[in-house]
Each structure stands twice: as C-alpha cells, then as structure tokens.
Symmetry: C2
Subunit: 387 residues, 2 copies
C-alpha cells in the first residue's frame, strides 16, 4: 500500500475545489482534460460502461497488473459503472447531472443525442451546467462523424506532412499530440465557461475538436501555406528561418545549437576557431547562413565529430551561445529540474507526468491519488445520488 | 482595405468580455495564449519595447509587407510602446496594472523582479491581479534561467528523441509545439485563476513552463520509461501496440489505416482478398500482428502499390475500416470541415489558424481584427491610463 493509495478519496485543495465533474470521457483526449481538473482540486466522477469499463483498462504496458495508460489519465477520479440505457442507472446519472457543474463526454457526435442526453436536454434540468464535448472533428461539419484517431488527425491536419526530413517520409509525432492538445483545449474551454458562468449564471456547450486543436498549432507550416498557397517542405530539425539552429552530431551523440543572430554566430565561430566564417559571404548574415545551411552544417560537424557532446555543451555554453543536450524521456524524467517542478508524480505506485498548471496558493504535490478500480466508488455514489 | 481592418477596435463578444489583459509577452508562447484570450473577447493591451517592438515584427514570411508570424499571434490586440525603465512610462504601466484583471509575461525569470514588477510587488497594488508567467523551464529549479527555445525544449523533454523512425535520427516536430502548448497551458491557468478569483476575490501567480507543458504531453514514451526505466525506441508512424495502424504507401502517395482490433483486421483482409491472413498464426491476433508488423506491412503494401490512395481510401472506408488521407497543410486548410469550423480566419488580409475553443452563445467569426501596428493605440492608451 503506497502513500498515494492510502490517501485515496482525499482530493487536493486547488483552484477547482468544489467543482463537481460528471465524466463520461474514455480513452485519451477527454480523460487527459479531466485528469487536469482532478489535479487542480475538482471532484471528477468517471462513469464507465458495463462490463469492462474504459477500454484502456486493458491497454499495455502494465505495472502491478494495472494499465499505466489508464492510470495516467484517470488519477484522482472516482469510478462508477452505469448502464446509460437502463432506467435505474439513467436516474442516477440525471441526479448527478442536476448537481454537477461540468459534464464531459468524448463520444462520436450523435451518441449523447441518441441517449437523450444532448446539451439541450441536460441544460433543461441544470441551466448552469457546463457541458463539454471533445471529438475528432467537432459537432458540426461534413466530417463530424468521420472515425477519428490521433493518427488520423495528425495525418489530416498536415502535422505529419510537416514533420520529418527533406526527401524523407511524413512523420508522426512520437506522442498522441492531437489527443492531448484537444484534452487541454477542452480543459481551457471548461474553465473559460465556468468563469463566464460566475458572471452570467448560465452554463454553455463547449465543443472541442482534435482536428481544430491540431490546426491551431500549425504555426510555421500554416504560414507557408498562407503566404504562398502551398504547404512547406519538411525541414527536419532545423529552424525555418535561422541558422545554425539545428541538431548537430558530436562524436558520441547529437546535441542542439540555437544561434538566432549574427552576434551569437560570431561567438560560436570564434570559439570553434572558425574565425574566417564570420566574414565569409556564404555565412555572414543569418539570411546567408540560412541559404547555405547544409554547407555550414558540414563545416561545423567536421569539428563536432572530434569530441563528445558533453564537451561541446560545456564549451559552447561558456561562449555564450544557446546550446542544449538531446535527452531521452528517461533522462528528462530524472533531471533535477523535473523533480523540483513535480513533473513526475506518483499515483498508485506508478510514475507519470505531473500537472503543468502551477497556481500560487495551492499545493502541487508529487503524490496523487491513484486511478480508481472499476466501480470502486459505485456503492457510495449510488447511495449519494440514488433516489 | 479588408473588412477585418475596418472593424479594427471592435472586440468580439465572448466569454472573456470585460477582462482586461496587460500583455508583456513577446515572440510565440505567451502571445499565442493571449491571442486566444482576445479571440474569446478579452481586451488585450500589448506593451512593446522601444524602438522596434516585438522581435517577431520582422520575422518572415511577409504578406503585404507585414510579418505573418507577428500577425497570427497578435490579432485582436492593442499596441502601445512603453519604456519600462522610464519613470513616466512606468507610471502608465502601473496605472494599467491597477485596473487589470490579468498580467502576462514571458521574460526569462528574474527580469520582472529587476524591473520591480514581481508578482509580490504588483499584487500589493492589485490583489485581484492574475499574474501569468510563461517561461522555458518555469520560475523554480536549477534550470530556471537556462536559455530556452522551442528546439531546446523539444530536445530536452525527450519529445525529439521519441519522434522519428527506427534506425533514423531524433526528429523535431514540424511546428513549435513546446511554445504552443505552453501558451495553451498559460491560457488554461489564467482562466482557472480567474474562475477561482470570482469565488475568493484573490488573484494568483500562474507559473507555466514550456518544459513542464511538453513533459505533460509525453504519454506513450513516458509510459515506456515508467514501466521499464528506459525510454522507448522510435517507432516511426506506427501505433505502439496496434497493427496494422500506420501510414501505408499507395501507388501515388501515402495514406493511413487504423485497425484497432481483430474484427477490423478481418474486414480489411477480406476486402483485400487476403483471407488467408486472418487465421495465419503470424497475424491472427493484434499481439501477433504487432510482433510481425514489418512482415504484415510488406504484404499489405504489395497490394496498395497497385492503386492510387484515392482508390484505397474509398474501398477500405466502405469495408468499415478506419482510414484517412495524409494531407498537406494547404489541403487541410481548404477542407470543407475547416471552413465550417472557422478554423481558417482572416485578419488584416492574412489567413491564419482560427480559435479551437468553441463555446455556445458566443459568435466565432472567420474574421478577426488585425494585429496592431507598433504603438497603434499608444496615444489613446496614454490618454486613458495617463495621470
């Protein structure tokens, strides 16, 4: 029994304390958003379907027989199994909705309507309800019911096309970024609507799409399209308009240099003994270096190949040029910085990423309540919300 | 003169209407967060330094002589140039702070303290102030003042290490994802603190780090670390635990198949005439297919090479298997879905991504007020907030 398990049921005091969330979300994008709410003090009641609950309860990898996937994005929540097509369970659900501040769902658009639980219906029994939907393409438009997975959204938003190397294939981001940014925007939409409700007294329907959320992040690739009507070429690890601003290979492993202007470049060139590059017409200005970026990289990597990354990180940093190591997740997770920021937390004996929203006046513990077992709080919740 | 320019100064009605934001942020991560606030109705006053203002005003690409980069993340804001080291301008700034709901800044930690504008100082003159900082590594810990760029954070969080192909190099996400997710978490922290303030009457310091924000998104790679103590191998475009769930090459271009279970695989195999695969011990269960993913991909791509992607998208979709095109940004931006969702907006004659936070009861226009010229609102703001 770890500490985090013994404190089960004790919610952290947070800016969302007192907020009751009825959470119908499953898999990743919605649960990520409501886990943030639980982290910040909300009471989140996760409603799971019979018989096996959220599909991700059986997703690998496992620690101590439990799914890490499920554990990460459901920490701090309560669980009850409800059959939303059975009369008695529907009554319990509606009793919860009457008292709730927030309802969250990430079903395919139309599912909640067919259950009789559309925003319009639930607002009738609780006009203060903030009802948040997170779906692949949103609740409007011709693709509203198109099957959406993170990979589909990365592919259809242009993100995959924009990631990777010149001449190489389109590349998926190595994390389910479209799910996670949608969960974050869902969280942001909910807190926005809660703030507005404090002033107007009225709830609202928050309609978040993984597709919209990913498009909102398209930045440089989108600018290329907006300026020229065409998508950009993939540019690998380099900056679109600065050089040298890229990953470079040292003798043992790669590292990063971020040289954003001519002054920094002169510091770098002098430190490397490449004084002649500073006035070389190929490399004199950032525009020159950007145009001749491949030639510059060859020159620099010929030198970097002579020493390990640790040497260059120290020498280039001391020269006053921004430089950084390229770390694995394991290395990132064990940095002192990560520990000080509580960005690895433990819940139910498992390690997972912490909460990035730090607000003064509230504790931000490195221990969180474990994700619930299926229907762990079913009996007490039925007693609390039953007729 | 476009419509969007003629409506300059008319803020959209939104859930943040009436909220006054004093915005000291510059470049990308902070401005992205405050642009979301402007999109949702807040009044955002951007304070820029003499002489040239925000550095990104001179960032390419340009449309009509103006930086698209600056235009995208500063739409809907007012601009005033203030010298925060000059007495008269400091007085105007403090007069703004007294009336503000929110102050935002993304300087390196320590800069605001040295200006005399720490949270503690500003809270003395406005205890209701929500003061949001967004920085590379946050305001605590040994890396707090380490120079941070998006590429540095992608490299140090493990994201770059997790993105790319087996045997290939670590790969930067083709958009400044660490800047943008930090801006989104800053927005989320601000709205959370505003909600809490409605109940407590007190402001707070919101402390967001690009590093924390990116770690929070590490999901599958982090799970591999948490389960084994080591980072994951790069897996290219495939799903970490399902197959076939990947990008496949058709005759003309790549497309995506998302086959999450045995039933979907049997539908796919039957449609392709590969009936024998369904009971092949190499491919029978998802675990089998995942283990023999490369062999399966070879079998499938031999068939996909015979027809264009359009053929397979239609045939596989009709067979009931999730499938999707791999689009460029230009293709994504011109989808009917994108138009219906207002995810391409126009401001100052430029196209840019729209606002993904859709909240019922408020308009979500495809026209936004242009980003301001430098000091465009200086005179009127000096009149409003001067002594």
């Amino acid at each position: 029994m770890t500490t985090s398990q013994t404190v089960d049921g004790a919610r952290p005091r947070g800016p969302l304390s007192g907020v009751l969330v009825i959470d119908l979300t499953h898999v990743l994008n919605g649960p990520f958003g409501t886990a943030l709410m639980a982290d910040l003090g909300a009471r989140v009641i996760k409603i799971e379907p019979p018989v096996h609950g959220d599909d991700t309860r059986s997703n690998p990898p496992y620690v101590g027989g439990k799914s890490l996937y499920f554990a990460c994005v459901n920490r701090g929540k309560e669980s009850i199994v409800l059959d939303l097509k059975a009369e008695e369970d529907r009554a319990i659900f509606l009793s919860m909705v009457k008292q709730a501040d927030v309802l969250t769902e990430n079903f395919r658009p139309g599912v909640m309507d067919r259950l009789g639980f559309s925003y319009e219906e639930l607002a009738k029994i609780n006009p203060r309800l903030v009802y948040a939907s997170s779906s692949g393409f949103g609740h409007t438009g011709p693709l509203a019911t198109f099957p959406a997975y993170d990979t589909v959204i990365q592919a259809m938003s242009g993100l995959m096309d924009a990631t990777g190397f010149p001449g190489g294939p389109p590349t998926r981001v190595g994390t389910s970024i479209s799910d996670l940014c949608a969960g974050t925007f869902m969280y942001a939409g909910i807190t926005t609507a809660l703030f507005e409700r404090e002033r107007s007294g009225k709830g609202a329907h928050v309609d978040i799409a993984m597709f919209d959320s990913t498009l909102a992040f398209m930045e440089h690739p989108f600018m290329a399209y907006a300026a020229t009507g065409e998508g950009p070429e993939r540019i690998g690890n380099r900056h679109p308009s600065m050089a040298p601003f890229d990953v470079f290979q040292a003798k043992d492993k790669p590292f990063v240099i971020c040289c954003g202007n001519d002054h920094l470049f002169s510091l770098l060139a002098n430190m490397l003994g490449l004084h002649e590059l500073i006035d070389d017409p190929l490399f004199r200005t950032n525009d020159d270096r950007n145009r001749n970026e491949a030639a510059l990289k060859t020159r620099l990597e010929a030198i970097f190949a002579t020493q390990d990354a640790a040497h260059w990180l120290s020498a280039i940093h001391d020269a006053g040029v921004p430089v950084a190591p390229l770390l694995t997740v394991a290395e990132a997770a064990t940095l002192e910085q990560t520990k000080v920021r509580n960005m690895v937390v433990e819940a139910g004996g498992m390690k997972m990423p912490g909460n990035p929203i730090k607000i003064s006046g509230f504790p931000d513990s490195d221990r969180r309540t474990a994700a619930p077992d299926l229907d762990q709080h079913g009996a007490s919740l039925r007693a609390e919300f039953g007729s």
